[in-house]
């Protein structure tokens, strides 16, 4: 056995040693010429190149598309229109009435997304926190329940959308159960309020496992002696929660909040499969609007879709900056 592992080790290490010798000379030469800064650039280059090709270049291209009009795909074939697409997206005769906006469906989608984010994030944080608090207790089958709550995170969003569509549609499982219980069936996905609530519920169900895990990690990092001291002092559980658990979980909660916000703004796939944006446009969110305008619709307009995605990107940049700031605070708090 030892002989096998030794020969395996030789097989792996010998080529690596040869590779190290080959690149050793040029790296030394580069280090002598450029110093430490130059070496850092060498090691950063592969990552930067990948980031540049797959993020920066598409971002720049997207912006360029947003300054053009027409149905052609290739940029040189398109007509430069400056900021007209942005003007078209943002211009309204009366900002209190979406119908007077040049792109009324953009405003509808933006309004729907805002409402979705507010309700979904609040529900997501609350449900994830409650679940994490329960799973942090010494209950029977804790490992099983942790797996159960995390399982939907592993599912494809399309599968999530289909599962819930089969449950909520007119001849779906939920109505079957209701009818068997002697209740009147409901047309869940044709009612504006139900459909909107369903998109929130389904997305919370699909993603809460991930946020629960973050909060669970935060809960387990809280020193046990604080709870023991509170217990010895006879502090009521509610006070323990508000004075110990919640403040010490603060940085994790902040990260969960911002990540859920970003994910909420980007919501698309499971809702697209579940409701298709309906009834009417009551669950039409920004990403679906961009998809429809850019690709799916007979009324296709790639320039307008690009401009809308740039505007949505700006919102996401602000949210990401907040997340980075909060993560920085968490790191500093950890060092203290």
């Amino acid at each position: 056995m030892a002989a096998i592992s030794k020969s395996l080790g030789t097989v792996v290490t010998v080529p690596l040693a040869w590779l190290a010798r080959i690149i050793d000379y040029p790296l030394r030469w580069w280090q002598i010429r450029t110093g430490q800064g130059g070496m850092a650039a060498v090691f950063l280059f592969p990552n930067l190149a990948i980031f540049g090709v797959f993020v920066i270049v598409p971002l720049v291209l997207n912006f360029l598309y947003s300054t053009t009009s027409g149905t052609d795909i290739f940029l040189p074939d398109r007509t430069f229109v400056g900021l007209d697409q942005y003007q078209r997206l943002l211009s309204c005769d009366d900002y209190t009435r979406r119908i007077t906006c040049r792109e009324d469906q953009f405003w509808t989608a933006a309004g729907n997304t805002l409402a979705f984010v507010i309700f979904q994030v609040a529900t997501m944080v609350a449900v994830s926190l409650i679940t994490a608090l329960i799973l942090n207790r010494n209950i029977a089958g804790r490992g099983f329940f942790r797996a159960v709550f995390f399982f939907p995170v592993l599912l494809s969003p399309v599968v999530v959308g289909l599962i819930w569509r089969w449950i909520l549609q007119r001849q779906g499982l939920l109505n079957l159960i209701m009818v068997n219980l002697g209740m009147e069936p409901e047309v869940w996905l044709n009612d504006r309020a139900y459909a909107f609530t369903a998109t929130i519920g389904v997305s919370v169900w699909a993603h809460m496992g991930f946020y629960t895990l973050i909060l669970l990690a935060g809960l387990q990092a809280i020193p046990k002696d604080l709870y023991e001291a509170a217990d010895m002092d006879g502090t009521p559980p509610a006070r323990v929660f508000w004075r110990i658990t919640l403040p010490l979980l603060g940085p994790n909660l902040a990260v969960v909040l911002v990540l859920a916000l970003i994910k909420g703004v980007q919501i698309f796939d499971e809702v697209y499969v579940l409701t298709g944006g309906g009834p009417g446009t009551s669950t039409l969110y920004l990403t679906q609007y961009i998809y429809e305008v850019g690709f799916a619709s007979i009324l296709r307009n790639p320039g307008l879709a690009a401009a809308a995605s740039i505007l949505m990107g700006l919102v996401l940049v602000v949210l990401t900056l907040i997340q980075l700031w909060l993560s920085g605070r968490k790191e500093k708090a950890g060092k203290r």
Binding site: G70, Q169, V187, N190, G276, G280, A296, I298
Partner: protein, 424 residues
């Protein structure tokens, strides 16, 4: 050792020589969608073609209709795509079709048998041979005869109006407890025949889109009212945003609605899935004040001009467009052929034991002679899709109560104007 090396070298040279002589067949990709059994029939036909033409390998890529509608246009716009595709958006994408005229064996045969529909799928003023219609379709209705009989409701006759049909279907709904009285597919194309029957005109004198007129609004208003009253199944139109296509066929097949307005391409689908569960009939198009019009259309098989093998594409198209193959395809798929020679000689032996099928196909053939002038022009009109898209998107919003009919009318005009401006 030396002898072994020499043997290996000789073997390698022999293998190289063999592979050079036996060329790999040219691979062609055909993007295909199916409403019924036509994918299986096409695969069978292609297998036979490949047996006769071992130098060509046709790979049939079966995809969802949504892929044809949403992904293929992006591929085409970027100069890519399959070698051959089955499409329904014929005119708007005509710039991407391969002109088969220099490649087919007998261009006169194509002109004679398929030429009367080439303008549906080529640019205005072009003499290209872009492909052929795999089927001629006619929009029209189906009624669940069993449900009507059980309810004791008589079906309106040949001159039955839309109101007659919806009211009769509503009586059936109340009697039999179906979910709704009827459904029309969620498609601007589908409601354009009825719009024409109510006096609509989409095309301006200059060939550009005309403003939404009272004829269009007359039928749209009825449709919206029927939906809000629960007569039309809201699941089809209301429960989606944008221009997403949805069919009411599954609800008809599941006997949830006694009346479906869809089209001739559903005949095989209904026959296969309904079987002997209930009797159904094709009813043509109900009437409006201006006529009883459906809308002709079709799915076409076209060569894509970005193919690297135009000669091989033309050979496949020559085979699939030949009279015996078109005849067999139509007989097995229960599609109406668009081949002038076959239509003229007739005698199609549609392969179905279902007694509902022959009268249904006959009714659609009859309905194709009842279309109004607008309906005849739309398949070859460049801006038809702009109109269809605006209709679907805004009428759905009106049905959902988000906008009024007047607002829908204004927004449809704006949407159409935007498409025209963006395309020019």
């Amino acid at each position: 050792m030396k002898r072994t090396m020499t043997s290996f070298a000789a073997l390698a040279v022999a293998m190289l020589g063999t592979s050079a002589l036996a060329q790999d067949p040219v691979e062609l990709r055909m993007m295909w969608y199916s409403d019924g059994v036509e994918g299986e029939v096409m695969q069978d036909l292609l297998d036979r073609f490949e047996a006769e033409n071992p130098d060509i390998d046709v790979v049939l890529d079966n995809v969802a209709y949504q892929v044809i509608q949403e992904q293929l246009p992006i591929q085409l716009a970027s100069g890519q795509g399959p070698d051959i595709a089955r499409v329904t958006n014929l005119k708007e994408q005509a710039v991407h079709w391969l002109d088969l005229r220099p490649h087919v064996a007998d261009a006169a045969y194509w002109d004679e048998n398929f030429g009367n529909r080439f303008d549906w799928m080529r640019e205005d003023g072009s003499d290209a041979i872009p492909g052929f219609l795999t089927q001629l379709t006619m929009v029209g209705g189906f009624a669940n005869k069993t449900l009507f009989d059980q309810a004791g409701v008589e079906m309106p006759g040949a001159d039955g109006t839309w109101d007659d049909w919806v009211n009769a279907a509503e009586e059936v709904r109340q009697s039999q407890g179906t979910t709704a009285a009827f459904a029309i597919d969620r498609s601007g194309h589908r409601i354009s025949g009825p719009n024409a029957s109510f006096g609509a005109n989409y095309i301006g004198e200059d060939g550009m889109p005309a403003p939404i007129d009272d004829g269009t609004m007359a039928f749209v208003e009825k449709l919206v009212n029927w939906t809000t009253e629960g007569k039309q199944l809201p699941d089809v139109w209301v429960s989606a945003a944008g221009t997403t296509y949805r069919s009411g066929a599954d609800d008809f097949i599941n006997a949830q609605i006694p009346f479906l307005y869809s089209g001739s391409w559903q005949v095989a689908n209904l026959s296969t899935k309904i079987g002997d569960a209930f009797d159904w009939v094709a009813i043509g198009s109900p009437c409006g004040p201006a006529g009883c019009s459906g809308l002709a259309g079709g799915a076409a098989l076209v060569g894509i001009k970005y193919t690297e093998h135009p000669e091989e594409v033309a050979r496949v198209m020559d085979y699939l467009g030949s009279e015996p193959v078109v005849r067999e395809f139509s007989e097995r798929t229960l599609f109406l052929p668009a081949h002038a020679g076959i239509v003229e000689t007739g005698g199609l032996n549609f392969q179905s034991d279902d007694p509902n099928v022959p009268p249904a196909l006959d009714r659609f053939v009859q309905a194709s002679g009842e279309t109004l002038p607008l309906a005849d022009k739309l398949p070859a009109w460049k801006w038809a899709n702009a109109y269809y898209g605006a209709l679907v998107s805004r009428v759905s919003q009106a049905m959902a109560g988000e906008i009024t009919l007047d607002e829908a009318r204004m927004l449809m005009d704006e949407d159409i104007a935007d498409v025209v401006a963006n395309a020019q």
